[in-house]
């Protein structure tokens, strides 16, 4: 079954000086239920725009987004969204943040907090339930966000460069943790946006390469045939990984160069 279907979706924005800017141009993409799709592309190519439309936070200028076959209108309540920036409520404690989705759904507070505690122990943060987010490190906050998203058990996970602000080692740890959760919880559908090709290959079943903007479109789709569960610490030096990296980078490289040239022209 197709979990997410973008059907010839375009999105235009109005620039501050009043001109129209086409961010995405007739992008069509279907994501199978239970698959892990990574979207890569040069910076500013509209990766987040695409994800925001799948989330229902943005409406397409033309085209249709379908979730489980039904056209999406308003917020996509079958999905959770992990943002690049910090999205925890700073005035709520860690456990209140994790319990938030349940409380919004009307679950009794005591029950919601108890379930939040269970999730906190799954992400190794039992000792930090009554801390405030500002008292945690960046990696810990990301784990809280994962618990916050997973606790409401939606079928689709949208992730917008969730680990890009972390240092390399913390980032790798989060990737391992993410795959562990994903493999251990009935394989939800994941769309993972990143600008890091290594991360994309290491995590996903399929890597979708977007062109440089404006009028971004899909330039290539690559299946990642590496076995699961994957040993992320060793994976990056495996020959199959390196071959795949070379093949996808050959495509992505062109787009990165184009986007850099566009920026150069814009400045001169």
């Amino acid at each position: 079954m197709i979990a997410i279907e973008l059907d010839r979706v375009s999105r235009d924005f109005t620039t501050p000086d009043g001109r129209s800017y086409r961010a995405l141009d007739e992008v069509s993409l279907s994501v199978e239920e239970g698959s892990f799709v990574a979207i890569v592309g040069p910076s500013g190519c509209g990766k987040s725009t695409l994800l925001n439309m799948a989330a229902g936070l943005l409406t397409p200028s033309s085209g249709v987004v379908r979730i489980n076959g039904e056209p999406l209108s308003g917020i996509n309540h079958r999905a959770t969204y992990m943002f690049q920036q910090d999205a925890l409520l700073p005035w709520k404690t860690v456990r209140e943040n994790v319990a938030l989705g349940l409380i919004l759904r009307g679950v009794a507070k005591a029950d919601a907090l108890r379930r939040a505690d269970a999730w906190l122990s799954r992400v190794d943060l039992s000792a930090f339930g009554s801390h405030y987010p500002s008292q945690l490190s960046g990696g810990m906050r990301k784990r809280v966000v994962m618990a916050q998203n997973w606790i409401i058990d939606r079928g689709i996970l949208l992730m917008d460069e969730p680990f890009s602000a972390l240092d390399v080692h913390t980032r790798q740890r989060m990737e391992i943790e993410l795959l562990g959760l994903w493999e251990g919880s009935g394989r939800k559908t994941v769309v993972f946006v990143t600008h890091d090709l290594e991360e994309a290959i290491a995590l996903a079943d399929e890597v979708v390469v977007l062109s440089a903007g404006p009028a971004t479109h899909i330039v290539a789709r690559h299946q990642v045939t590496l076995d699961r569960p994957r040993a992320l610490m060793e994976l990056r030096t495996a020959p199959a990984f390196i071959d795949l990296y070379g093949a996808i980078w050959a495509v992505l490289r062109e787009e990165v160069i184009k986007s850099q040239q566009a920026v150069g022209h814009g400045r001169s």
């Binding site: 969204y81 409520l89 700073p90 005035w91 404690t93 919004l104 405030y132 409401i152």
Partner: protein, 258 residues
Amino acid sequence: MADRSDATIRRPVVLFWQVAVGVAVLTLWQLLVSWKILDAFFVSRPSDIAQRIAQWMTTGTLWGHLASTLEESLLGLVVGAALGIALGFWFGRSPLLASVFDPYIKMLNAIPRVVLAPLFLLWFGLGIWSKVALAVTLVFFVMFFSTYQGVRDADRVLIDNVRMLGASERQLVRHVLIPSALTWIFSSLQTSLGFAMVGAVVGEYLGSTRGLGYVISQAEGTFDTTGVFAGMTVLGVVVVVVSAGVTRLEKWLLRWKA
């Protein structure tokens, strides 16, 4: 961490110098008057002022005046804050409303409140309500602008995240917009409280039969500079004590901040 330990080391030092500055100024003042460099008729002297305050306290005349000033300030704070927060919230959620009323709000805020005092006396009488009204006009704008700012400044990502987690419009207001605005509101509590007292005292000064403003104005009417300074001193001490309380309250309310 470094900042925190610095602060604990400094606290007694700061306290020492705070007291030292006060003592130095009072001593200098006292000496200048006894050396006849300054005339006690115009500037009184610290020992007389202290005596006057002690006398007010022992005879009990002070408490009634103080109570009515505090009552007016508190009422002004509560009413002004309620109106300011409600309207600030409403305008913050409706950009159209905010742009339409923007020039009017600015015009009203530009009116010097002393000019309003006689009008309020006329409208609300000599009792506490004319003073409360004056305090309200001051507190309202501080609260209005902070709330408005707080609602407009609410982090886009927090809003999107909570909506993705399933929040309805009402839940969004409750879990994100109100707490976000509260941080701004709490941070302006100190200013608002000071303004509330200014409003109350100015109101009493211009026409009343009770309160610290009344005491000061009576003293001025008889060229009793000691009374004027004593009134101002009491007012100053009250503000320092109350604002220390507000600081602690603020710290507790905003305890989630790093």
